[in-house]
């Protein structure tokens, strides 16, 4: 079954796997090719085709030229919005999650398993159950239609994941290590800095990649709580398709899609191993 000979069955395996790989890659290839074709060229043929000459200008237009809802600044301001939401929310939720994960797994305090249990329910509670309350809360504290509002939401909601990831990782650290440090008089923060944090890089990388990918790709909160110039790039892409439905500009749109997808794709390429670990860690919850 697991030999390395080149029997017909092996050839069949390679054939099927290659076909699947082609099917998974096809949409990406199509969009990359389209991002280099002119709008006219696509309009004459179909979305699927080889560029006649490379229309790099699509990228320039997509980045800072075309118009969404009466502002013609391309996708750049929305990319910036997404970055200003994603980066702080990722850092905050990861840091707070690491400290809380350490507190519930190693430091221990009265009620720790209870509160941990409730926090992890956040993995399951649908966003739709929180939409209205967040709307009212953001309005009351004056953060509706601001990037800070989305940072707040993603930090608090992200805790469910970050606490789970970190807690499950820290549980494996021997309790004796912590007890010895406490007998030596080390406090909560000193133990965290000196013992826990130096052991944490793998789980912090997993958590950061997970949070970054999810917050960058998030759409529902972005489209609900922000409008116009405050929107993250996912919401802007939808607005873009709606805005130019009459006169399709598929070349420019393809370039915009590539730009919007690039940050998470790059992170996946660079940290694929950690990305997969996050997927499976989230699965075994």
């Amino acid at each position: 079954m697991r030999d390395r000979s080149f029997a017909p069955s092996r050839i069949l395996i390679y054939l099927v796997v290659t076909l699947f790989a082609a099917a998974y890659l096809a949409p990406l290839v199509v969009v990359v090719l389209n991002s280099l074709r002119t709008n006219e060229e696509i309009a004459q043929g179909s979305m699927i085709g080889w560029p006649q000459h490379l229309a790099w200008s699509n990228y320039a237009l997509a980045w800072s030229g075309f118009c969404v809802a009466e502002t013609c600044a391309g996708i750049r301001p929305y990319m910036l919005n997404s970055a200003l939401i994603t980066i702080p929310a990722t850092i905050f939720s990861t840091m707070l999650g690491a400290v809380a994960g350490y507190a519930v797994s190693l430091w221990r305090f009265r009620g720790d398993s209870w509160i941990y249990g409730i926090v992890t329910l956040g993995l399951f509670l649908p966003q739709q159950m929180r939409l209205l309350p967040w709307t009212f809360v953001l309005r009351d504290i004056g953060l509706i239609n601001t990037l800070s509002g989305l940072v707040l939401i993603h930090t608090i909601q992200g805790l469910s994941f970050t606490v789970l990831f970190c807690r499950n990782y820290y549980v494996a650290i021997p309790h004796e290590l912590i007890r010895a440090a406490r007998i030596d008089g080390a406090g909560f923060f000193r133990i965290f800095w000196r013992i826990i944090l130096p052991l944490s890089s793998p789980i912090l990388i997993v958590t950061v990649i997970w949070q970054f990918t999810h917050i960058w790709n998030e759409f529902l909160y972005g489209v609900t709580f922000t409008t116009g110039q405050q929107q993250p790039v996912t919401a802007a892409l939808i607005a873009l398709s709606a805005a130019i439905a009459d006169i399709p500009q598929h070349g420019v749109q393809s370039a915009a899609v590539i730009i919007a997808a690039l940050p998470t794709l790059l992170i996946y390429l660079l940290g694929g191993r950690y990305f997969v670990r996050g997927l499976t860690a989230g699965a075994v919850k």
């Binding site: 949409p27 956040g122 309350p133 909560f188 529902l220």
Partner: protein, 306 residues
């Protein structure tokens, strides 16, 4: 057990002050997270029983919001779609994921590259996936147009604009996006099967297919259930993908519960009904998650007693 250290002596007041930063750091994030989950759920449930429309108001209408949502054509279509989309998507992505995992488990060359290819869609947002597939499946510019341009004039693939088939375009895009997830979990499961069991089956004269069917696949049951539950959870709350791919159309042919909730809350300003639809979504989710939690509980008990 570690409680012994912290409660050995009742902390004096000065001690409490000294340890204030520590308490704040532990409790504030956890309490914020837990409190928002509980209070927001109760809040939404409460709104679902009020006559709120544009703004939340007090008052009690009993189950009227629920009956009106359940009686609406919008919700009925959304629910039927969810049943079809949920079962087709979960089943097909299980099969695809398992097939890919078994193929990758055959010690093939380039396994790492292939695995990355099958998993990269998971790093992309549903908005991007939906947008790209809406181009590919659009008969005017996508696959159908390509076939026509290549001379296959009778080729027909108009599911995106066909009321009866449009829901399948969402199935296709969803499988493309997340069957890699099933593959990753199945592959991890296949790799953890005891090599001795496989060897024993081979010594008994079982061929590769028989070994898989009788010996290896049965060990994957727990993983299968986990994959099913997670994929169902995604299907029940699917929003972005549909919004970008069909936006519920043509007409309301691809409506799903999450779109109904959004529509009621933010487009029709029917907060009470929108909240009721959100609670209905939660109930559907619980119908999946509670049996799963019970099953996990039994499994764990058996594991500790064994």
């Amino acid at each position: 057990m570690t409680d012994a250290v912290s409660t050995a002596t009742r902390p004096a007041a000065s001690d409490m002050v000294r340890r204030l930063p520590e308490y704040l750091m532990i409790w504030v994030p956890l309490l914020l997270s837990a409190a928002h989950l509980i209070s927001f759920s109760i809040w939404t449930i409460w709104i679902s029983f009020t006559p709120s429309t544009l703004v939340p108001v007090t008052g009690w209408v009993g189950l009227r919001n629920y009956t009106s949502v359940l009686a609406s054509r919008n919700w009925q279509i959304a629910f039927d779609n969810l049943l079809l989309f949920g079962s087709a998507f979960v089943l097909l992505s299980l099969i695809t994921g398992l097939l890919l995992a078994i193929l990758l488990d055959q010690r093939i060359r380039g396994e790492n590259v292939l695995r990355s290819i099958f998993l990269y869609p998971l790093a992309v947002s549903f908005v991007v996936t939906g947008t790209v597939w809406s181009w590919l499946l659009n008969p005017g510019i996508g696959i159908e147009k390509l076939a026509h341009d290549l001379g296959w004039a009778s080729f027909h693939f108009d599911w995106l604009v066909n009321r009866d088939m449009a829901i399948w375009t969402i199935v296709i895009a969803a499988i493309w996006q997340s069957s890699g997830f099933a593959m990753a979990l199945f592959l991890a499961g296949l790799r953890s099967v005891d090599a001795d069991i496989i060897k024993a089956a081979q010594i008994d004269g079982a061929g590769p297919i028989r070994t898989y069917w009788r010996v290896i696949l049965p060990t994957l049951w727990p993983i299968t259930i986990t994959v099913v539950v997670i994929q169902l959870q995604f299907a029940i709350s699917a929003f972005d993908l549909v919004r970008a791919l069909t936006n519920g159309g043509p007409g309301i042919a691809t409506q799903l519960p999450a779109l109904v909730v959004y529509d009621l809350m933010f487009q029709r300003s029917q907060l009470g009904r929108g909240a009721a639809a959100a609670v209905l979504m939660l109930l559907i989710l619980l119908a999946v998650l509670l049996p799963y939690a019970a099953w996990r509980y039994v499994q764990r008990r058996q594991a500790t007693h064994a």
